[in-house]
Amino acid sequence: MTVTISMSADKTGIKSQNKLRKKMRGDSLVPYLFISPFLIFFLGLFLGPAFYSLYLSFFRYAGYGASTWVGLGNYLAVLEYPVFWTEIWNTVFYWFAHAVPMMVVAFGLAVLVNSKLVRFKNIFKPLIFMPQIIATVVAALVFQNFFGTQYGILNRILGTEIPWLTDMNLARWVIVALLIWRGLGYWFVIFLAGLTSINPEVMEAATIDGVSVWQRLAYVTIPLMRSSLLFAFVVDGIVTMRLFAEPNVLVGKAGALASVEVAPVVNLVIENIRSARFGMAAATGWSLFILIAAISWFQFRLFQQEEDK
């Protein structure tokens, strides 16, 4: 969600504000006073700790006593640590495995709800969106109850004892199901907003020309929505890199972290802090940042290409 915001709207309204500004110029300290509370907290609680994390990543530090300069040692240790790669791979797996089907279904549902076939849009829209407002932890717990081996709802209905959450090869797919369930409504509403912004006359022109529903979808709707779809996929990737609650609450037992086989990469940051390896935790975090920056860069390039077209 975050990276998309461009500065294009900045220019609006500047001219009309000149008049007011002339009047206000006398008190040149005033705007700084308005900004300072936000800025002071932002520097103290966000940017300061961010730079401190960067600084820490070059030291061995246990939270007390002296810290030892290790240069790039922490980063090398992270890169050589097989668990880091397992968890990176898990996280990327969660991104692709849930985002692709979720985007397709969310888009399909948006097309359906937006079509002339459907009345009661005001019922279906909030209904499909609703899982989004359920807290992640609550959703993960309900899924845990549903997919439990001995006391699970699904196994009880089927009369089986399939180890949905204890066999990690199955568990990773349950995590994917949870991600799809909770995320679907969000993207559905966003795609629906995009679809309603398509000029209806374009659609009507296509209808008049005797174009079938499928052709309209393939030649009008999807090309117009192409960039939104790509954008959604990449933004979802950035959010997925920060995944933590879903796999751990769903698969981890009684609030413990999930086993490495299904763990996302943020787990490594948390584990390092809990064992007081702050330098390692910071280095892991910044490695994650590099990954996110790479995805964002990819997104940026993609959009340049889209705009060139």
């Binding site: 936000f38 549902l109 037992k253 994650l288």
Partner: protein
């Protein structure tokens, strides 16, 4: 022109069999998805009316014995799960009020004043969007540990009170507010802060409300940071406690009845607010995401 086109296209689509079939299929798909969407919530509520013991025997069906026993247990678990519910409410409410106020104040300056460094500062703030909060955790943890704030409520509130998204979101709205309104107030002799409180805040209330919803939900939902820094029951929010609730005697078995009762209590207020303000909810999500 468009009216005649509409008539034409309507006359084209007389009820044909293919049309009826696709209509039925469409509704079937939508109803199916709708059921999948609310089914987990339904089992959550239904299972909250079973006892913990019944959940081991009958997890799937309707309660054999409808009981409020699990809700009663909420008041007994640890020192009472209601403490954790109240913690979550305190944390989310304070965070929302403070964050919206700080963002609105800064947004007002960025939107309506010209000052040295304005654009550079704003660009810099936006650039920090790229930094995922998770990587700051080691730095934040040490900072708060030095202040001896581990296991407090403020450690869960403070890192959430300066959301750059909120600043951006509110500033975009404020730019669109006509200056004449502000000028009138200034002419009447209102001070800068007075103008902000008495004119700007009320006029911006739609965007403040929309952002407040986003902020409240994101703090209510938080897990990564609270699970790390709140390890004592007295300061934990409900989201941290719920996954840890196990049978006090056996040790590892989740007490599903009590968990579902707690989950229902943690969900119901938000669900009600959502049903009442659904359009506002959904549009604030969309604006938060696709505003360009």
């Amino acid at each position: 022109m468009t009216a005649s086109i509409r008539k034409l296209s309507e006359s084209n689509s007389k009820p044909r069999w293919s049309n009826i079939v696709s209509k039925v299929l469409t509704y079937l798909v939508l109803i199916g998805v709708g059921i999948l969407s609310i089914y987990p919530m339904i089992i959550m509520v239904i299972n909250s009316f079973k006892s913990d013991q019944e959940m081991y025997v009958n997890p799937a069906g309707l309660p054999i014995r409808w009981t409020l026993e699990s809700y009663g247990k909420i008041f007994q678990y640890h020192n009472g799960l209601w403490i954790n519910l109240i913690n979550a409410i305190i944390i989310s409410l304070i965070s929302t009020v403070v964050a919206v106020f700080l963002c609105a104040m800064a947004a007002y300056a960025f939107a309506k004043y010209r000052f040295w460094g304005r654009n550079a500062l704003f660009a810099l703030l936006l650039a920090t969007f790229m930094i995922p909060p998770e990587i700051i955790i080691p730095g934040q943890y040490i900072l708060f540990a030095r202040l001896h704030w581990i296991n407090t409520l403020q450690i869960q509130i403070l890192p959430t009170i300066t959301p750059v998204l909120g600043l951006f979101f509110i500033r975009q709205y404020m730019i669109g507010i006509p200056n004449e309104i502000l000028e009138a107030a200034r002419v009447d002799g209102a001070g800068h802060f007075e103008t902000f409180i008495k004119i700007m805040l009320p006029v911006s209330s739609p965007v403040l409300g929309a952002y407040a919803i986003l902020q409240f939900l994101s703090v209510w939902n938080a897990y990564t940071w609270p699970v790390l820094v709140a390890t004592k029951a007295a300061v934990q929010p409900i989201m941290v406690v719920l996954p840890q609730m196990v049978d006090p005697i056996v040790g590892f078995l989740p007490v599903w009845g009590t968990i579902m009762a707690g989950a229902t209590l943690a969900t119901l207020p938000i669900l009600i607010v959502f049903i009442v303000f659904q359009d506002k909810f959904m549009s604030s999500v969309v604006v938060g995401a696709v505003k360009e």
